[in-house]
Point group: C2
Chain length 224, copies 2
DNA sequence: GGTTTTGAAATAATCGATTTTTTGCGACTA
DNA sequence: TAGTCGCAAAAAATCGATTATTTCAAAACC
């Protein structure tokens, strides 16, 4: 058997389409494109160094995921931002993540506790340099994923991840607020403490506050 | 200005890709393909009368939607069925749909009540012929959509729709159970009554029973 | 005998070119 | 002068062919 790249590094070899999907997804959440902007496919082709077919496949996936709008015969658009949609996303995040957190705390085992502490540590360390935003964002996403991971519901986690990406689109466009940011950082550690102690009600209510505080920051996105 | 087809009938003109998406989606939910089956792209090309590019775009969308699994360099597969996943889907449906129902009953107006009665009537009428399953399925889906429509949360409705499609994949594969079916039909009318009277608690608990009863039917899918 | 290698066939992914549809703008008209 | 019309340019969608990767069965090896 010829050894495929996937057998070497354990990861499945990526196609041009899947690489383009990941890259464009990242840039959409990052706020690289203006809300409402129409994507110029030939320009994207050059920027992401990818052919037309894989590019279109990536854009189709992103549309089904909700990070793009697809209009028949008139291409792809970046969805507009609205205060109202942000409210929808934030409220739903609270509902779904609190649901998942409860189940995670009931079902999480020692292995989970370890991974949660590891994720917390990575988040604290990544926090230092303001130049490496992308590093922190990745650690932050991973922290929240780890927190809810053992909830036992793949579909719930899927929806939460999707909403998180939508929410981050707003948050990352908003002007930073150091005071609130410090509070949010503190809450991450408090969440870990409560999770380890299985203080379900406390953790739920803190997670709700956490999302509401982020929401407050994210609201700055629709102002500009 | 040349009058485009869309300007005539009010609908946006469809592309080959979007038509293929709808057709294959319908067939996946219908159970036309075996669970776990690998899709033969060249065969699909012939069956859906569509070229390779639009077909692949449709399959990419379906993967992002969750009705297919995409594995890099090895094509598309129909997701396997499992008792466990069905449980996940059903439980989450209960949570999300009860949430939406509460809000819909609080916010629904007279127009909603009219549309709900209309949807109920269509469902009862479609029920008659056992030959036209597809008609009933459409009316049924529409009834449940109408019931929750005024909840005010587009994202919640999106997730509910997605879960409903997943659930139906199981339900439609399961052997029919006339006794339970009669109960389910009765519940639809009861739900309308409670919705009109704004008996929120009653309606929530009935909707939960309704989903649990459907779940019982759907469990027959993993047996065969 | 069981495992590994090999290579042809099958399949997936991508490319380049073509077709179809929309868009933008200037001329025409009431 | 506001509203149509028509045409050229631009963009989207699709096609047909090509390239890359996987699969599978037979041959070689230990």
């Amino acid at each position: 058997m010829t050894i495929s790249p996937s057998a070497v590094d354990g990861a499945v070899s990526e196609t041009a389409a899947s690489q383009a999907f990941e890259a464009i997804k990242r840039d959409l959440i990052r706020g690289r494109f203006a809300a409402g902007e129409k994507l110029a496919i030939s320009a994207l082709k050059a920027e992401y160094q990818v052919g037309l077919s894989p590019l279109r496949e990536a854009l189709n996936r992103l549309s089904a995921y909700g990070l793009l709008e697809q209009h028949n015969q008139r291409g792809f658009r970046v969805p507009p931002l609205s205060e109202q949609e942000l409210e929808d996303i934030a409220r739903l995040r609270i509902q779904l993540e609190c649901m998942a957190l409860t189940q995670a705390m009931q079902q999480g085992d020692a292995e989970w506790e370890s991974q949660l502490l590891a994720a917390q540590h990575r988040l604290l360390r990544a926090d230092q340099q303001p130049s490496q935003v992308e590093q922190w964002e990745q650690a932050h996403l991973r922290f929240h994923r780890t927190l809810l991971a053992p909830c036992g519901s793949p579909w719930l986690l899927r929806f939460i991840g999707q909403l998180h990406d939508q929410f981050d689109r707003y948050r990352r466009l908003a002007p930073p607020n150091p005071a609130i940011r410090a509070q949010l950082d503190a809450q991450h550690s408090e969440l870990v403490e409560m999770a380890l102690d299985r203080r379900i009600q406390d953790a739920r209510s803190l997670l709700e506050q956490h999302i509401q505080l982020s929401w407050q920051v994210a609201q700055g996105a629709t102002g500009c």
